[in-house]
Symmetry: C2
Subunit: 213 residues, 2 copies
């Protein structure tokens, strides 16, 4: 099998999305560390791997990809018969397509903004914008109301199987659960059960072990 | 064939993405107008079609979808053998996956923000935030530098064929070209030629004719 390389950092949420997918598929890979502190991702030769200067970048033999959700879809497609299935076998395609876009366009924007204000800004010693936190908590609460209704009908977001859609949430979700925003998840029983389920998967535990080394 | 219904407004950029795809695939559809002025999209029965209260929503027989990019992918998948192909036949899947995410996560955020400030706010009689315009023009300029390099190697973003990726840009692009942001596109020859090419497609001309009725 052609070698798999992930260029990135174990602390990058986007790179964690890719690691989680590789572990679900039980694939060997090499992590090529990118020193983001010194801005290595904003210079050549990294820019030839991702012209937008963001981690991760991915290589599988001569195939080169960037954008974490493109990489996970590529892995799921290329290694369809390895490890966890990550789609909805024998089910209509529509819910998988819909909920993939929901994660990207409804969940991720407020979740990422909240992590920026509540996790990364304090880490970098800059002050949290409380108005932005309030605004994005309100947005996320509305999204989680829709998730609560969905997860009362379906074990996971796209169908009754764990898919790429659930996996795409893991890195942001993991950080949010360490902030006061956790209360929004705890207040919704089906969402809460889903969080407990997906964050306890062995593949995700391996990602956390990498990050905590 | 099961009937196709699009619930939305001819002026919604997200709905226009779906109309463009339906016209490329030469499919008949019924437009069910949603009166966004009176907030019809924020109430039942519309919320049962899209719990996030946004247009468009889509029905194909008993399949119900929302999120414009999920709908276009569904149409391309279900009607693979009708009209324009919209993918890269015989090519590796990686560039299609990568550039789909680039449109959603790199191009769309600054493009939508600029249209909000320069097109929609003046339409609603509220004042443009010039600092936000400046910040997002700078972001969009960097994205278009990457597009210029890409389009000097490839006729369209994913490959040498017009695909869903190019199509997804059309509604925001069309609005931006009526604002001073047009200069960012005009300054880049390959981007400029691509804009001229994709905005002159007969399917897109039909979408504009709907919007201008």
């Amino acid at each position: 099998m052609a070698a798999i390389k992930v260029h990135g950092s174990v602390l990058s949420t986007a790179a964690q999305r890719v690691f989680a997918c590789l572990y679900e598929k039980e694939l060997e890979f090499e992590l090529v560390p990118v020193d983001m502190g010194s801005g290595e991702h904003k210079k050549e030769p990294y820019l030839s791997l991702n012209p937008f200067g963001q981690v991760p970048a991915f290589e599988h033999g001569d195939q080169k990809l960037f954008e974490s959700r493109a990489i996970t879809q590529y892995i799921a497609h290329e290694f369809a018969n390895k490890g966890t299935k990550l789609d909805c076998p024998g089910q209509p395609i529509a819910p998988l397509l819909v909920w993939k876009e929901v994660e990207a366009h409804q969940f991720d924007p407020p979740a990422s903004k909240l992590n920026w204000e509540l996790v990364f800004k304090p880490m970098f010693g800059t002050s949290t914008d409380t108005a932005a936190v309030e605004e994005n908590e309100a947005k996320l609460a509305k999204v989680l109301d829709v998730y609560e209704a969905r997860l009362s009908q379906s074990k996971y977001l796209a169908c009754n199987c764990f898919t790429l859609i659930d996996l795409h949430h893991l890195p942001s979700l993991n950080l949010l659960m360490k902030t006061p925003v956790k209360k929004l998840f705890d207040a919704r029983p089906h969402v809460s059960a889903w969080v407990a389920d997906i964050t306890s998967r062995p593949a995700w535990t391996k990602v956390l072990a990498m990050a905590n080394k």
